[in-house]
Symmetry: C2
Subunit: 429 residues, 2 copies
């Protein structure tokens, strides 16, 4: 069969990785795809930069949109990034030109995924995005194909390697957040502007995509509840250890009565749970199907090699053919299951207060919790320091988030409570 001619937009680490992978593994890829896959055109800002790969014989486009109309390009690989701008224009132009698209762009998919999927469906072209979530782990394929016979009840994952690295180092070295972040930046594990990662936005983009696939809904980034890891303290990490938990930034999509919860936030996970053992820059995803049971996947969530592996898997799928609906079913057949707002969330909570060590404080706190219908599983206070600030840790039974919020508002107003209470949700993991 004819060669599959690929145009690559964006020649950063990942783009160069894709060019290198297609060259290095050329013959095994051809044998598996049933046809040769060749990069015939590229687009990037700087034509002269050395990227460690040969671009010889490839058409060069200063404007990425040129790939959509290049007659030497059958498939467009979009690695520019960003929810709008050049990335979006290129993907739209390629689809309208009837060319399949492969992208690693989670922001684009999270924000415009439904519209782009409708365009792709109308044009009858593939929109592949394995590389957009969890890098080298084929989680899109596992959810959309491997578990396609199942109704899923829950998908939970560690979707951001930077956050997981920071939390791992904080625990191992007992350092606080800002110190570890600065170290991570120096080592290149965190960006100069780290907010996208540490505020949970990157994980939320990925979770929005997973939730759409898992529950057969349209992608709905706006419905994702997002909290990052800035407020996680060394103190809470050490209390977590003592109570038998690890703190992880989790993305969770879960079917509950009335709809679907979709949330990214730090969570306490029991140490024995699969997600608790995922350390450093690794990513992992756990999916619960009604027939398959729980499937757990772990691997490298970022980097040139793993991301290129996912891009090339999508290209090989395109060669092998078949009609794969973008979000697991035709857009018209997706369910309109509502997203349930966070106040309706029900779960257990870890609550840490800094209080003045004086008689009656605990009585005041527990009276408020009782009045808000929050029942306690355990309480922890170490040492005594009469008249000084001491931490008190409370672990609740399952309770509604609305009740918990009300209790915290009241507790925060007590004169003996010295800081805003720290609240971390507890998850099965």
């Amino acid at each position: 069969m004819a060669v599959l001619r690929v145009g690559v937009a964006g020649l950063g680490t990942v783009g160069a990785g894709v060019v290198r992978l297609l060259a290095e593994n050329f013959s095994v890829i051809a044998a598996r795809a049933g046809r040769e896959i060749v990069v015939t055109a590229v687009s990037a800002r700087d034509v002269s930069r050395d990227r460690g790969v040969s671009l010889e014989g490839m058409n060069w486009h200063a404007d990425p949109a040129g790939l959509a109309t290049d007659p030497d390009v059958d498939v467009v690989v979009e690695l520019i990034g960003g929810a709008d701008g050049a990335a979006k224009s290129l993907v739209e132009a390629a689809i309208l030109a009837g060319k399949p698209v492969v992208t690693a762009n989670k922001a684009l998919l999270a924000v415009h995924g439904s519209t782009l999927a409708e365009m792709a469906e109308a044009a009858g072209v593939t929109l592949g995005f394995e590389a957009a979530v969890a890098g080298g782990i084929p989680v899109i394929k596992v959810l959309r194909e491997g578990l396609a016979g199942n109704r899923l009840s829950r998908v939970a994952g560690i979707l951001n390697g930077t956050c997981n690295y920071i939390l791992t180092v904080m625990r191992e070295e007992g350092k606080d957040f800002s110190t570890v972040l600065a170290d991570a930046q120096a080592l290149g594990y965190a960006e100069a502007d780290p907010s996208f990662d540490i505020d949970g936005v990157d994980a939320a983009h990925k979770l929005a995509i997973l939730a759409a696939l898992a529950f057969g809904r349209r992608v709905d980034f706006g419905a994702v509840h997002v909290e990052g890891i800035r407020r996680i303290s060394a103190l809470d990490i050490s209390f977590a250890e003592e109570l038998g938990y690890r703190i992880k930034l989790l993305g969770i999509a879960r079917e509950i009565s009335g709809g679907v919860e979709v949330r990214v936030h730090p969570a306490m996970v029991p140490k024995g749970a699969l997600l608790a053992a995922v350390e450093g820059v690794f990513n992992a995803v756990l999916a619960e199907g009604d027939f398959a049971g729980t499937i757990f996947l772990q691997g490298r969530g970022a980097g040139a090699g793993p991301t290129a592996s996912a891009v090339v898997a999508d290209l090989i799928d395109i060669c092998r053919g078949g009609a794969l609906p973008v979000f697991g079913a035709r857009m018209g057949a997706l369910a309109d299951t509502p997203a349930v707002p966070m106040p309706k969330h029900v779960g257990a909570f870890f609550l840490r207060l800094m209080v003045v060590d004086q008689p009656g404080v605990l009585a005041d706190v527990t009276a408020i919790l009782r009045d808000c219908n929050v029942s306690l599983e355990s309480m922890l206070q170490h040492g005594r320091a009469p008249g000084e600030a001491v931490p008190i840790v409370l672990v609740t039974h399952e309770t509604s988030e609305a009740a918990m919020n009300e209790a915290i508002a009241r507790i925060g107003k007590l004169a003996s409570v010295l800081e805003a209470p720290a609240l971390i949700r507890i998850e099965p993991g």
Copy 2:
């Protein structure tokens, strides 16, 4: 699009599970597959047995081969089992009739996989076997599609839940093999005739399939080195704990100089390794790709639900179309990488001897190891019992299996060595 009409041969737990899954999740499956999937015909021995699912309106075939020619059947699902006989006849007849086949039959695939794949390729029909390996874990899909851009260097897995359950309970309860096996049989976790599982044959069938996919070779069950877990003692499990290892029955396919090693045997795995943490009836597979890095998958490896999930995933893939080569590439494009025989294996070893506690024994043993070029990493002997039998444990550095075999043969002949030495390979896990 027209309904996909399925004929199911074999209505045991898994067959009934497939019928139930297709009925219970009928509409989500139709939305995902793009067409309705309906069981129109079945074959089993006993028409009257209650299987907890409705067979109303389905054609009944006393002879499974009838499904191949039934005009109401588009796809044949083979769940009879066994490498030959009715299962093989049915699969061949279906392929020759131009009908796609989905099977959970690892023995059939391991022994006749290459021939059947050639037949399927010639007939242009799909031969799906996701359910044949690791039940609900979509490992076939991950290797053949998700990691298709990678050269794999190693696949290692816990592929038999019965063995993993027995080894887990032996460790947790400190009981010996035969006691735990009897308990497992009473609980239904082990068959009345358990040899297929505990002698490693079932794991070897699965590994033969994974090795073919991972390394683009023809399936070669005969080349798999197979050892089971009968000889694992409570004593060695407790030494493993002390040395920081867990004993697991692993299936390992690894590229080494000169070819591919394909072996199933008990192995000591460091406690911190991913495979060491897989306990009870769970299965897990680890794959190392040159670009993706290490991918780890865990889930339920057997049972009606997980296996049915895998069968239905294959049926949905058939609806979605596309040409997927059975073993990852066209049969003519498979490599003829040779299998390397075990004596050429190089690795570290755990060696446990029962010796008479008397002066000079250790000197004799270490002299033999030196003469065979086996160097030691550590040695362990607890307590003293002059003139009595005591265990001595030796852990070697990397050495060739041939050298180790020679050393053991000589050590076994020493008058002070009272039992056949126990040898367990050490693996990274």
